[in-house]
């Protein structure tokens, strides 16, 4: 049919797909430039949107039996072979959020073959970043946290680890590398950081950023997928309530650092990471200790996660993940 072109069907009922956590229209300037994390059309308040978040456009879902996906032809990633996909379904579930997010942190930080990398945070995003660093060819991946169980998890797949409660990161890095700095650093913590040492129960929201500048070599870059908010009503300090943090910018400037912030544009990476999973080049589910739980056990999952469990809980409303594994 000449006039209307090939009869193409993009997504059809029965396809097995991954849904990026960010919602994007696929038509605005930012979407056309690949910046789907700051789509201009899906949130009346500001660029960028996501399912089931406060202040992100009011889209429901994300933790539900079903979800309405707007602009589905644009947003969805279809798995090419359904049977093969089912064999790796728990890994593929990570494509919606933490795997691309950790990967984005590493790419933004300039990780490449031979890099030494410091990753702040051994939660799911930190472990996904560490996994990504290895996939990108990093020579040494150092993961830092206060939580021993999570550091042990990082250790299982070849990371060096730093317990920030036990001394200055810089000194511990020197012990590992023979020099006190790394090439690249990723902030997988964000504003909810706790300080080091005995005062560690209090939030010290700029701690991670300041440490990252301290441990990154001059000329290096910092990837910052960890969330910083425009305002935090519960913060101790007045400035933090308005999203301002006390940052040692002079240190970063003296070292000519670059800083890349913001929500990961999932679509920029999910296809290639899917390929790495389907061809057995990466074990993201194992590395983040992904654990499928039924939807009605979500409160337990959240509770254990808050307690510091070294697990990525994945809600599995229809038992699909449980059946596959």
């Amino acid at each position: 049919m000449v006039d209307t072109g090939p009869d193409v069907e993009f997504i059809k009922i029965g396809d097995l797909v991954s849904v990026p956590f960010n919602i994007a229209c696929g038509r605005c300037r930012n979407c056309k430039e690949g910046k789907t994390g700051v789509c201009e059309n899906v949130n009346p308040d500001r660029p960028g949107s996501a399912y089931g978040y406060v202040d992100m456009g009011g889209w429901v879902g994300g933790q539900a039996d079903y979800v309405l996906v707007p602009y589905a032809d644009w947003n969805l990633l279809k798995f090419p072979d359904k049977d093969r996909a089912m064999e790796k379904i728990l890994d593929l579930a990570m494509l919606a959020d933490i795997f691309p997010t950790g990967f984005h942190g590493c790419v933004s930080a300039g990780v490449k073959p031979g890099s030494t990398v410091y990753i702040a945070g051994a939660g799911p995003v930190g472990l996904a970043a560490a996994t990504s660093a290895f996939l990108l060819g990093a020579a040494v991946v150092i993961v830092a946290d206060l939580n021993k169980e999570r550091l042990d998890q990082a250790h299982t797949f070849g990371c060096e680890t730093i317990n920030v409660a036990l001394g200055e990161p810089k000194d511990q890095i020197e012990h590992i590398l023979g020099e006190p700095v790394v090439d690249c650093a990723v902030d997988a913590v964000g504003f909810e950081a706790r300080g080091h040492g005995h005062e560690s129960e209090e939030e010290h929201p700029a701690t991670v950023l300041n440490t990252l500048m301290d441990v990154t070599r001059a000329g290096g870059a910092l990837g910052i997928p960890g969330l910083y908010v425009t305002g935090d009503p519960g913060a101790r300090e007045e400035s933090a309530k308005h999203g301002s943090l006390s940052i040692r910018i002079g240190l970063g400037w003296a070292k000519s650092h670059s800083f890349v912030t913001g929500q990961c544009p999932v679509m920029k990476y999910n296809r290639q990471l899917m390929m790495a999973i389907l061809n057995d080049r990466v074990q993201i589910a194992k590395n983040v200790n992904a654990t499928a739980i039924p939807l009605d056990e979500a409160p337990r999952g959240y509770h254990e996660f808050d307690e510091g469990a070294a697990r990525k809980y994945v809600l599995d409303p229809h038992g699909m993940l449980a059946r596959a594994s």
Copy 2:
């Protein structure tokens, strides 16, 4: 309305828009990566499509009163202010094809502030490439052709010119620059090139590519928006009939050249070039000598163009361009 998101209207009746010559679905991998010139869904024969071309998917139009634009929300570029747009409408008409194409050639060739640039061909795409080179900050732009009238046109906006009938391009470049090589080169001719000198009526399809390798410095790059076909039934040589040309690849290899080929992905550039036009930073219509003619005078336009007129004929079915100027 929470469930379905903001009520966004992308393109509506009455908008004044630019239609890229390449047709793209906005959903395939290549489109998502910005490679709309090789969209995978709009041509059953091979990636990439265009209006009114042979072997490009069978989409009609491009030279008609009206055109059906598939995936219009994705493909169309809307001008933000209709009144302002009407004042620059002949310039904006160049956004559909030759301005982005010439610009793509320059970007692919690595043109930046201070570059010396050689552009093969002073036809509309060559003149658009020269215009783009200046917009990108080039120090010296040298345009080469066999057609004196077209070279004179290039001269009107500050280009140096080379008549390839009058001597080796390398020698003429040395005369202009004090050295026989340029930083960047653009092929705005393609396979229909004619040779230099007395034999110039015959096609010498690889002449331009070979000259470009000769005149580009070691470490430089070649942008090749000029069309090379997969087969040319009318070619003199058997190999050219199958799209094979005799190329001095050894010369390019010794100089570590990069070659970037293919149809321009218009959407990658048209918004920024629109901004340059609307803010009077570039005079593309004047530089290519854009001339609006009614649709029924198209045969005359084609004839004069084939005769070598230094004009870009623009079909103006509804007299809109004529009225605006």
Copy 3:
């Protein structure tokens, strides 16, 4: 001579050259990667060095009759034609520092053809950044300052201007562009920023950075060549004494901003900018109002500059610049 290769002479007595303000060894990892602003071998205290600066390696000079240039074959840029260079010598003098610095700010901020650009500061670096933005093809360049004379200077070469004492930059940008945000922003001020309005005599060191995040679109980038120090003993606030500033990082994060900081690596840009000068594509001396003064009038120059004169004073120990113009 087979064993020792061609007899190459890099720099010889009598050459006319430009000396980048940063000193670099040409052999360390950072130099090999083009990051000459953070050379690892020329300053025992930390990466990066410069002539005549405190805490930058102890190299004398920069404002003297003669200067010793270490690693001269690496650091010096030789002008190809001495006679031609003498005709543009005041422009070429800008290659040592402010022109590349302003250019680096724009490149870091992603300025390209069609960009809308906000430049904080109409001092010499700000005006050099504005000049660079046009050279890179920017559609609209908006320069902001509190000093009317400097803004007038920016106006002379086509910039839009904003007096930040007269209202929110965002509102003034909306008045100019029709939307309250720009694509790219450059901080040509640094930590010595003064606040807006009646309190403007006090330093508000993070003002510029916070404004830049406010006025830059989501997905945009900030180039930050303006100096931020690791410590400022004379600062009002305790944190600023240690180089910490209160930054609205949450705002930048929500907009996925990138931040590129640090001293310009002059060598990365000076050759191409030289080419633009020598071929009359840019009038940097005129735009920054470069004014040559004898070495012994340096104190007057500093005084007038501190008073806010819209001039770039250039020390001219041997009267070479004065004679040339």
Copy 4:
């Protein structure tokens, strides 16, 4: 001492170093831009030089007891820890040439995590390219050759293999991937390619390039580290004697391919690859089957290599490699 800066010693007697095969001055424009493969000062005939090659500047060495290294502070890569280096010395020996060359081919072809890659040639450079592709995170690496022993070697470290004598590469790729095209392709053969099938004893110098265009997806890129010469006196065809090959450029153009040619600039990659080796992320010596032989056995090594042995012979004049392993 203030005037002359820190007392830096770059390379000193006793250091263990890697010598890139390309010789570069470290002061010319190309060197400053990282293009050390086309240094402008070390070869009076044309940019680019190497030890012991015809027509490359007349520098002796490369296969000798000792070698004179010009501009040694610039050219040499020092291993940070001599003891650790001795443990990996056979791997580190690959940094002089084939490992960076294979890596450059992959980087030029755009290989990244998740890529599918086709590598033409299972000789040492091809196997190094395959090793590099995995280090860069490739999902599937397909190596093609006519030599079964070499293909078997590729198979030992996880490559898929294609014997081009047994059918069209496109068909064999489809069998492996489920689609007949790859994302990225590397030419690790060059002009000495032999054709497929019964005529395989003759050289078909453009065979590899044409196959690469055939098997690379639209929008993909080709890395071409395989050597193409400016002239081949022994070629069968007249055009090939002058370095011209019959290339299906129309096919590449229709697919918007990019082509990156030339000698690898070793210095751009050797430090990072050294880090990957020293931290056990890659086994390059094992993958290319590196075999140290005494200098006086070089003729045997060349002979066996010409016979198609799946080995990379490494000349070991002082028995250092032999002692280490």
